[in-house]
Amino acid sequence: MTVQSVVREVCAVVGVREPAGSIFVLSTQDRTAWEMVQLANEMSQRIAYNTREWQNFRKLATLPGDGTTSAFDLPADWQRMLKTSEIYSTAQPTLPLTFVSDPDEWLVDEMNGYTEPGGAWTIYGNQIHVRPTPPVGTQLKFWYLHKNCVALTSGGYGDTFLADTDVFRLPERLLKLGMIWQWKANKGGTYAEDIANYEDALSTVAGSDKPAPILVGRVNLSVAANQSYPFLTPSAPETPYP
């Protein structure tokens, strides 16, 4: 399966003639095919970035300390941190560095010469800033979600489709169903059934993307358990949209 075959399957459903040749054409040549490619890019990124922290797209970053550098460039394929990511230092592997989310707090701490006991980090200017400066020999490590959701025919990975034979790195059925409902919505069609099909498929694929959490009673024992609130938590509300 390739992005070209996905587009063709979508065309068959949404009442559009399948592109006879390449789907990579100028909008002036074949606006339909051009829109299909744009939608394939949008929907594949939406699935990859916005729906779940897919195991396939999790990646470990390592920042080497040299005793002078305190600001590290983000990895080139960085999309975002995982929702629960922390930065760990080899100098003290049991506790993560404290994340300072507020820029003013980071500034005040710096001006006061204050450093969190386990070290602190923040993020701005596409760089991770760490305090105190990691000494030589230490490594900072963290998980992030990378953005390369497409396997390129030309080699390697990318975040958009560039050729007919490029492949989406998650199940392509998900991409197909996503494109179908969004295309119909874009064209003013009725898409309630299609979005339901897509959401069902998304739930199923997402559910099998990572082993189910092991629950004892109602307290989860995942790796995150060491930081979890030690009492029962109320369920999230089940109100459907809106």
Binding site: R31, N186, K187, G188, S203, A236, P237
Partner: protein
């Protein structure tokens, strides 16, 4: 501390937006532009079935059809000496089963009846190629074609076999002791004209009459074609049958116009030769100029159908006469004088039914309308009223060349009137076409038509490069390049429909998708392109789409090859059910009857559909557009 609860899938599930906030779209289907080009309606409130551009789509009675291509029939010149001067006029000769077609440039007249590399030049020098012709069968049973040109060269006459030039201009009196070659012309003292049949030297003494009596086989008083000379009164400009620029037939007589004058001339009844008699017409007109052409016009004046003789001047005045004998005051009278705008050439008229259509600077005007309307309102009755702006543009650009019209009854099985918009450089070659059933106009581009004529139900035209082209054949145009080589060229059919408001002119709309439906034969691999113009601007048109594949010659009469004509090896015969009984493979499944929904994505308060097809294939395309549908989203008014 960050939130470490597990994602709750139920809460994240998306649902379709409620109906009232979903996109609301309007479907709309537009018919094919059966009204053809319509350039004289308000853009915002155009009625359906109109087109703003209709290039190479011909409006039939129920759809629009892609035109066929052109192929070189023959060309002027002879082997080794091609003649690429423009073809100025073409005409044909039809008598019983004898059918011939002729084309003239400014130096030679050519028989172009047969397809081939070159036509056959007629060995009579001419100095102008803009001919006017008339056919008349004499009581002797021979059908003659009489041809005169703008230069007033000696009258040419064709009897179905050979041409003669009735050249009396260099005539000299017969003399004694003079050698005469075959064909030499001599005048006797009684002004009779004689043609030498046997080479000889005249007697040293005696009269011409005595010499003829002594050798009856030496001289004949008729031209080689057996009919009489055409002579004018002594002292008149047409005494030698020269200076005549236009000829037509009215009530059994040939009428002529003396070029640059207000004088018309006529011959005896049922005669293609004889003494010309004058019809002075200067008193019949008031605006000056000179006579341009004349013709017969059938009309009912309330007392039955009558045949009138009309004379038209270069200034657009029309004098209408009736009667059978101009020399008889009782039997010849003027019935009226009317005014139209200036005609665009002496052959820029044609007869449709009993009426006569004249191409003028204001459009094509039926004479019947000229009688009842003032010149100022006549253009509204012109059959070109719907394309008036286009007509004026072409007229201003190309009126320096003579225009012609040709009615092709067989075209497309419907009948059409073709108008040359002659001349122009490559990319500027056009002609106008109107469906004679519906009056719907379209335009053909890429045809370098200087003049049209039909023969055996097929239309031909002459080009600026001296080619005779067969029209509407095959699926490509043949265009002469700068190196005088005929090249196979694709052509593009472009249709821009009338402006569509989707029922609400004040609103802005987004045309989301379009779909065009066609009627085609099974094997027609064309690739249509649908786009949309917005807000009253449609030029420049989008680049044309790719050419579809070439299915080869179709298995239809006159196109499919079989027997010895077919290239070897023959395909292996297959199951007759597969369509392989003949020499070609089974046609593929028809694949383009509808474009299905194509993304448009154009925003504006007026939309005009654009459908383009580029053709380059062996067989004539068989493609008709039936309709175009749109899905449009109504956006708002005050945006």
């Amino acid at each position: 501390m960050s939130n470490r609860s597990l994602p709750h899938y139920r809460a994240f599930r998306r649902f379709a937006a409620p109906g009232q906030v979903q996109m609301q779209v309007i479907p709309k289907t537009l018919p094919a532009p059966l009204r053809g080009l319509v350039l004289n309606e308000n853009d915002t409130f155009m009625r359906p079935a109109a087109a703003l551009v209709l290039d190479n789509w011909f409006p039939t009675d129920n759809a629009i059809r892609l035109r066929g291509g052109t192929q070189t029939w023959t060309r002027l010149g002879v082997t080794g000496t091609p003649d690429n001067r423009p073809v100025v006029s073409m005409f044909n000769y039809i008598a019983g089963t004898t059918k011939r077609m002729f084309a003239a440039n400014d130096t030679t007249l050519n028989d172009v009846t047969a397809a081939g590399t070159f036509g056959v030049p007629v060995a009579i020098p001419i100095t102008n190629g803009n001919f006017s012709t008339a056919t008349l069968a004499t009581s002797g049973g021979v059908t003659y074609l009489v041809a005169v040109n703008d230069a007033g060269d000696p009258v040419l006459r064709f009897n179905g076999t050979s041409w003669v030039s009735l050249d009396l201009g260099s005539i000299v009196s017969w003399a004694n002791d003079t050698p005469y070659a075959i064909g030499a012309i001599a005048k006797d003292t009684d002004n009779s004209i004689w043609r030498c049949l046997v080479a000889h030297t005249s007697p040293a003494s005696g009269t011409f009459a005595a010499a003829r009596a002594a050798n009856p086989t030496h001289w004949s008083n008729a031209p080689a074609d057996g009919a009489s000379w055409i002579t004018g009164p002594v002292g008149s400009p047409v005494i030698a049958g020269e200076g005549l620029t236009q000829v037509w037939k009215y009530r059994g007589r040939l009428f002529f116009i003396q070029g640059g004058s207000m004088n018309a001339w006529y011959l005896p009844v049922n005669a293609v030769g004889g003494a010309l008699e004058q019809i002075p017409l200067s008193g019949a007109f008031t605006l000056g100029g000179s006579l341009l052409f004349g013709c017969a016009w059938s009309v009912s004046a309330g007392d039955g159908i009558d045949d009138k003789c009309i004379f038209v001047t270069t200034e657009g005045e029309i004098a209408i006469f009736t009667g059978t004998n101009p020399s008889d005051a009782v039997n010849w009278r003027q019935e009226g004088r009317y005014q139209i705008t200036r005609p665009l050439g002496k052959n820029a008229w044609t007869r449709v039914g009993g009426d006569v259509l004249i191409a003028t600077a204001d459009g094509i005007v039926p004479i019947s309308q000229a009688l009842t309307k003032d010149i100022g309102t006549l253009e509204f009755s012109a059959i070109t009223a719907s394309i008036h702006p286009m007509w004026m543009k072409e007229m201003l650009a190309k009126r320096h060349l003579p225009w012609t019209m040709c009615k092709w009854d067989e075209y497309g099985g419907l009948g059409a009137l073709f108008v040359t918009w002659p001349g122009g450089a490559s990319g500027d070659l056009r002609c106008g076409v109107v469906n004679t059933n519906t009056g719907a106009w379209c335009r053909i581009t890429g045809w370098d038509a200087m003049c049209f004529t039909t023969l055996n139900g097929v239309m031909f035209f002459g080009t600026q490069a001296g080619r005779i082209m067969q029209a509407d054949i095959g699926g490509y145009d043949t265009i002469t390049d700068g190196a005088d080589v005929d090249q196979r060229m694709p052509y593009t059919a472009s249709y821009v429909g009338g402006w569509e408001m989707f029922g609400s002119p004040p609103n802005t709309f987004i045309a989301r998708q379009g779909r065009c439906q066609f009627r085609t034969r099974a094997i027609e691999p064309f690739i249509p392109q649908i786009t949309c113009a917005t807000d009253y601007v449609y030029e420049p048109l989008p680049p044309p789409p790719e050419v579809g594949g070439d299915p080869g010659l179709a298995e239809v009469w006159d196109q499919g090859l079989w027997g010895d004509d077919h290239a070897l090896p023959f395909p292996i015969p297959g199951d007759p059910a597969d369509g392989m009984r003949f020499d070609q493979l089974a046609p593929p499944r028809p694949n383009t009857r509808t474009t299905m929904w194509v993304s448009i994505g154009e925003t504006g308060y007026a939309h005009a559909p654009i459908v383009q097809v580029q053709i380059n294939q062996a067989s004539k395309p068989d493609v008709e557009i039936l309709n175009i549908s749109f899905i449009a989203e109504q956006v708002g008014v005050a945006i």
